[in-house]
Amino acid sequence: MVDTKVTLSGLTLDNPVIPASGTFGFGYEFAEIYDIDILGSLSFKGTTREPRFGNPTPRIAECPSGMLNAVGLQNPGIDKVIEEELPKLRQVFHKPVVANISGFSIDEYVECCGRIDQEEQVGIIEVNISCPNVHNGGMSFGTSPESAAEVTRQVKAVTTKPVYMKLSPNVTDIAAIAQACEEAGADGISLINTLMGMRIDLRRRVPVLKNVTGGLSGPAVLPVALRMVWQVYEAVSVPIIGMGGVSTARDVIEMMLAGATAVEVGAANLKNPLAAKEIIEKLPPLMEELGIGRLSDIIGGAH
């Protein structure tokens, strides 16, 4: 028997597979087709203080080996998430969740993180300072070490649970930003969010997305994500949740060898709603094939 358990800041997961924020809603669509309790954890849809409609449609465009999204953080707002979504999620998922929080000001991050910190279901707070699809805020906090550190410090001051800062790949020096977050007290680093991109409709000669730009994710970004997880692993000593293009058990192992303790699976869930389940089922035989007895032993194993 192989051991797939991993530990993130004291929280032990049965396996490292966590559906990524924004690609799994609050779990129930998937609970219709499989028992989602098999997941290591799940990161729910990015939540803000106010309810948000998000960006005008079209918000989705296809790309070679991936997709662009410009959803723009559509969510019901923190009040409804706490009053309605979390109780519903509790019916179908019985493990601690990763609470993904976004904001447009430091005050908003502080307020939302402080409130979500009090929810028993929450195991980790993942602070998204990297959304490329919203204007004024979102990604702008994640593109300089100073502002990333400032959000981290202020969120840490009002929370008791582990805080993971979710970083943007749309930067020149990801390691410097990760380090700044660690120094400001972050318990871990999540990366990567989507890469900014666009597509153009040839016939109409206009961008496909109404928002013009969107975030690229899916298999196309895996090499970029691996490189960034690798660099961050060399720069910090806190755990890393690695993501970007993971769609198979092999990708999970590769991400962990680069330095990730746990792995989020995003766009793959949209293409194949059983993706996370299939990855979890394929991990043990793949570990046997690769001679891995304890999965946690391989974290950063390629360095």
């Binding site: 924004g22 409609f53 989705i60 559509q74 709603p273």
Partner: protein, 241 residues
């Protein structure tokens, strides 16, 4: 929703750029006309949403127009090819509202779901009128099939090459109890303006097709709705243009 493997049993050109495909597999998750399937195509990252034109427990028929690379790939598939489908997606039409004399309006690629709906309503004893709108005679399909079901069929073409010249709204006169529509947005809007009540099926670019990504959201009078899950069918009274 279910994820099932289907086998293409036939795939043929039935009108200009328009193909009909039969697929064999477990279709029991489809419960209402107006629902759709989301088809995975090798080499394409996103699935392609296509309405169910007709279904039995172990068979699905779709009719699709070739408009881009994915649908062009579909048109080249031979019988025997296996495809992965997400089945039973969307809310579908509420048939209980039809009344005695429902009007079904389909424009171009919006015609196919009207077939499953007509089949259901006629089996239920309703007197069904179908208006099919196209640009030109070469695009027309399923006139016979609707008539064979027992529906009274009206065809309109923009160039007048067959049927009534003009748009579907030019053939809408009559005393109907309810309206069901599917087609391009300008058509839906014109039909909306000409009726008191009805249900309208919308399209949007989709990331998942089953409610997880918020890629397809629209605004309605009763809040935000995901076209893929809370739609694609919206009630006339909730639509915000």
């Amino acid at each position: 929703m279910e994820k099932r493997e289907f086998e293409v049993s036939s795939n043929e050109l039935i009108a200009s750029n328009t193909w009909k495909m039969n697929l064999l597999g477990d279709a029991r998750s489809i419960t209402r006309p107006g629902q759709f399937v989301n088809i995975e195509l090798p080499g394409f990252f996103l699935r392609r949403p296509i309405s169910v034109c007709a279904w039995r427990d172990w068979e699905v028929t779709i009719i699709y127009k070739v408009v881009g690379q994915g649908t062009s790939y579909m048109s080249r598939l031979e019988p025997g090819v296996k495809l992965d489908l997400l089945c039973g997606l969307g809310n579908g039409y509420d048939v209980t509202k039809a009344g005695e004399r429902p009007l079904l309006v389909g424009g171009g690629a919006g015609v196919p779901p009207m077939y499953a709906l007509a089949e259901w309503l006629i089996r239920d004893g309703r007197q069904v009128t179908v208006i099919e709108g196209f640009n030109t005679a070469g695009e027309v399909f399923y006139e016979r099939e609707f008539a064979d079901l027992g529906a009274s069929v009206r065809i309109t073409t923009a160039d007048g090459s067959v049927g009534t010249r003009g748009f579907v709204t030019d053939a809408m006169d009559g005393d109907f109890t309810y309206v069901y529509a599917c087609g391009p947005e300008p058509m839906l809007r014109a039909v909306y303006d000409r009726c008191a009540d009805g249900q309208f099926s919308f399209e949007e670019r989709m990331g998942c097709g089953f409610g997880a990504c918020m890629g397809c959201t629209c605004e309605t009078k009763y809040g935000y709705k995901r076209i893929c899950r809370d739609g694609p069918v919206l009630e006339r009274g909730e639509i915000v243009w």
